[in-house]
C-alpha cells in the first residue's frame, strides 16, 4: 500500500510546489533580485506598449511578419491588462476579451505559440500574482471563440 501513497505524493506535491510556474519563472527565481522585483510594468524604451524584454524576445525569434505582428498585438493587450490597476470585472472585461481575441489570432497562425507570450509576461512574482488576479476575475465566465479565428486579427 505504501508505494501507492508514495506515487501519489510524488505526483501531487511537486505539482503543488511548482504551479503556476513555468521554466522561465523558475529560472528567474534563481535570481531573487529579479524575481522579487515588484515593478509590474517594466521598461518600455520603445514606447510601443510592449515591455523591452518581450520586444527583445520577439525580435530574436525570426517570426514571419504576420505572426510577429500578431504576437506584438497580443503582447500589447497583455501588457495593458497587466499594468492596469483594475480589479473589478466591468473594467477588466474589455481588456481580457481583447487579450483572448489577440491570442486566438496568434493561435490561428501558430497554435503552439499562442500562450507563450503570456507565460513570458509573468516572469516575476508580482507579475505572476497580477496575472492570477486577472484570471481570477474571469473565473466562471465564458468565452465564445469566433467562428473565423482570422477575424480577430482584423481588429488590430
Amino acid at each position: 500500500m505504501h508505494y501507492k501513497k508514495i506515487i501519489i505524493l510524488a505526483l501531487i506535491i511537486p505539482l503543488s510546489a511548482c504551479y503556476p510556474l513555468n521554466f522561465q519563472q523558475i529560472e528567474n527565481i534563481a535570481h531573487p533580485g529579479y524575481w522579487l522585483n515588484d515593478d509590474i510594468a517594466g521598461e518600455d524604451a520603445g514606447r510601443n506598449g510592449i515591455r523591452d524584454d518581450i520586444d527583445e524576445w520577439i525580435e530574436k525569434q525570426n517570426f514571419e511578419p504576420k505572426l510577429k505582428f500578431a504576437i506584438q498585438q497580443q503582447a500589447i493587450t497583455l501588457q495593458r491588462t497587466m499594468v492596469s490597476k483594475a480589479e473589478d470585472w466591468e473594467t477588466l472585461r474589455p481588456m481580457i476579451y481583447d487579450e483572448l481575441d489577440a491570442q486566438i489570432c496568434v493561435g490561428s497562425i501558430d497554435l503552439e505559440i499562442s500562450d507563450r507570450v503570456s507565460l513570458l509576461m509573468a516572469n516575476t512574482k508580482a507579475r505572476v500574482l497580477r496575472a492570477d488576479k486577472i484570471d481570477s476575475a474571469f473565473g466562471g465566465r465564458t468565452y465564445k471563440l469566433p467562428d473565423d479565428d482570422n477575424s480577430t486579427c482584423r481588429k488590430y
Binding site: L9, L15, Q103, G107, S114, A131, G140, T142, K144
Partner: protein, 426 residues
C-alpha cells in the same frame, strides 16, 4: 388605370414578401469546453482553440479558474464528496479506492512509515490552510452560477450543446448539466475526458497513462495513450495528450459527432408549446444582406424576406411578439449596373394569428393577417398562410426522429410574383 393596377400589384407583392419564404432553421450545434485543474485562462483558451480546430465545431470556453493546483484539488475533492452518498463513501474508503481522500483528510494507518505519516500530515495541513483561504470566497458557487446562465442562453440559440469536460471540469459540467430542466437535458450531452467526477452523464475517455486522474478514478481506463515525458509528463494534459494522440482524438471527435447527430430542431413544441402568440417570441432581425432579411424567433423558426430577383421589391419586415411591420422597396439597376434608385413600394402591418407545428410531420404553419398602414399607395388587407415543410422528418418516416432539418418552402402566392415579373418586364 394601368398605373393603379401596377401600384395595387406592387402592394399585393408586398404581401407576398411578407409571406416570403420560411424554413425550420438549420440545426445549430456547439461545444462547451470545461477546463481542468491547473489551467490559466490562456492555457484553457489554447485548449479550446485546439478543440475547435480539430473538431470544426463552434466552441465556447467555460472557464474554471485555478487558484493553484492544491486549491483546485481541494475544490475537486469537495465536489466529489458532494457527489457520493455517505454510505458509498464509507464503503469506497474501506476498499481503499479513495486513497486520495485519505491524503486529503490526513488519515494515516499504523502500518505507515514515519516518512509517509509526515508527508500525509504536511499535505493535509496545506489543504486545511487552503481550505480556510478558499472559504473567504465561494468560488465554486460563483462559477456554477455564471456557467448555468451561459448554458441557458446558449440553448436558446442552439439546438444542442455538447459539453466536453476535462479533469476537474467534469465536476463543473455535471453540475451545469444537472441544473438544466429535463427537457433541456435532452438537448445537451456531456463528454467526459479524464473525468475527476464520480458520476457520468455520457461517454468517457480515460488513459491508462494518465497519472493525475487514473489513480483516483472509479472508472477503468479505456485507452492507452503512449506516454510522452517531453510533451506531457503527467499523461493528463487535454491538448498535450488527449487531443495529441490520434486514437484518443478520434474517439473524442466520434463522441462529439454523436451528440451533433442527436441535435433536434429547437422545437416549437417541447420547449415552446405554441398555443398563444405570447409564446412565440421574436428574437431579432438581421440587416438585409443582398436583399434578403433574416428574421429569427426564439424557438428556432427563421423567415426570410422576399428575394429581390423574384419580384423586384424587397421587404424588410420587423416583428415584435407576433406583430410585424413591413416596408417594401423596389430597386432599379440601370444597364451597366452603376446607377441605382430606390422606390418605395408600400408598407403595412400585420399580425401572426396562429403558429402550429404538426408533431407528426414537424411542419410549421403560420397564419397571419396584414393590412396597409396610413400613407400606403392603396388600402389593402389580406390573409396569408405559410407552411414550412419539414422534409427531413418525412424522409425519416419517424415523427420524433431527431433529424437535422434545413428546408425551404415557397409561399402560397407564387402567382403574384409571376404577375409582377410580367409587369416588370413590360
Amino acid at each position: 388605370m394601368q398605373k393603379i393596377l401596377i401600384i395595387l400589384t406592387l402592394f399585393l407583392t408586398s404581401n407576398a414578401s411578407v409571406a416570403g419564404e420560411c424554413f425550420i432553421s438549420k440545426q445549430k450545434f456547439s461545444v462547451g469546453f470545461f477546463n481542468g485543474v491547473g489551467n490559466t485562462l490562456k492555457q484553457a483558451t489554447k485548449s479550446s482553440q485546439n478543440l475547435k480546430s480539430k473538431t470544426h465545431y463552434p466552441v465556447t470556453l467555460y472557464y474554471n479558474h485555478t487558484e493553484g493546483i492544491t486549491k483546485d484539488l481541494l475544490e475537486a475533492y469537495e465536489q466529489r464528496l458532494a457527489e457520493i452518498p455517505f454510505a458509498e463513501r464509507a464503503k469506497e474508503a474501506n476498499g481503499q479506492k479513495f486513497l486520495f481522500y485519505q491524503f486529503m483528510n490526513g488519515a494515516t494507518s499504523k502500518n505507515d512509515s514515519p516518512e509517509i505519516k509526515a508527508a500525509i500530515n504536511k499535505f493535509a495541513g496545506d489543504v486545511r490552510r487552503l481550505e480556510r483561504v478558499a472559504s473567504t470566497r465561494p468560488i465554486t458557487v460563483a462559477d456554477y452560477t455564471d456557467h448555468d446562465r451561459q448554458l441557458d442562453s446558449e440553448l436558446q440559440v442552439t439546438s444542442r450543446v455538447a459539453l466536453v469536460a476535462h479533469s476537474q471540469g467534469n465536476l463543473f459540467a455535471n453540475h451545469v448539466f444537472e441544473s438544466l430542466s429535463k427537457t433541456r437535458q435532452k438537448r445537451a450531452g456531456v463528454i467526459h475526458v479524464a473525468p475527476a467526477s464520480v458520476h457520468l452523464h455520457g461517454k468517457y475517455i480515460l488513459s491508462k497513462t494518465d497519472m493525475i486522474v487514473r489513480p483516483i478514478s472509479t472508472m477503468p481506463a479505456n485507452i492507452t495513450i503512449p506516454y510522452n515525458i517531453f510533451a506531457d509528463h503527467t499523461g493528463h494534459g487535454f491538448s498535450e495528450s488527449y487531443l495529441a494522440y490520434p486514437g484518443s482524438l478520434n474517439r473524442i471527435i466520434v463522441m462529439i459527432d454523436e451528440q451533433q447527430r442527436l441535435a433536434t430542431p429547437i422545437g416549437i413544441h417541447g420547449d415552446f408549446n405554441v398555443k398563444t402568440m405570447g409564446q412565440f417570441v421574436y428574437r431579432g432581425v438581421s440587416s438585409p444582406s443582398r436583399g434578403v432579411g433574416k428574421i429569427s424567433f426564439k424557438g428556432g423558426l427563421t423567415r426570410y424576406t422576399d428575394k429581390p430577383d423574384m419580384a423586384g421589391c424587397q421587404a424588410t419586415i420587423t416583428y415584435d411578439s407576433g406583430q410585424f411591420n413591413f416596408l417594401v422597396k423596389r430597386q432599379f439597376i440601370k444597364p451597366g449596373g452603376f446607377l441605382r434608385s430606390a422606390h418605395w413600394c408600400g408598407n403595412g402591418a400585420g399580425r401572426i394569428n396562429k403558429v402550429v407545428q404538426d408533431e407528426s410531420t414537424g411542419d410549421i404553419e403560420i397564419k397571419e393577417t396584414w393590412e396597409s398602414l396610413p400613407g400606403a399607395p392603396s388600402a389593402a388587407s389580406g390573409e396569408d398562410s405559410l407552411t414550412c415543410r419539414n422534409d427531413e422528418k418525412r424522409k425519416s418516416g419517424n415523427a420524433h426522429a431527431p433529424e437535422s432539418t434545413s428546408n425551404t418552402m415557397s409561399f402560397t402566392d407564387d402567382i403574384k410574383r409571376v404577375m409582377l415579373g410580367d409587369l416588370y418586364k413590360k
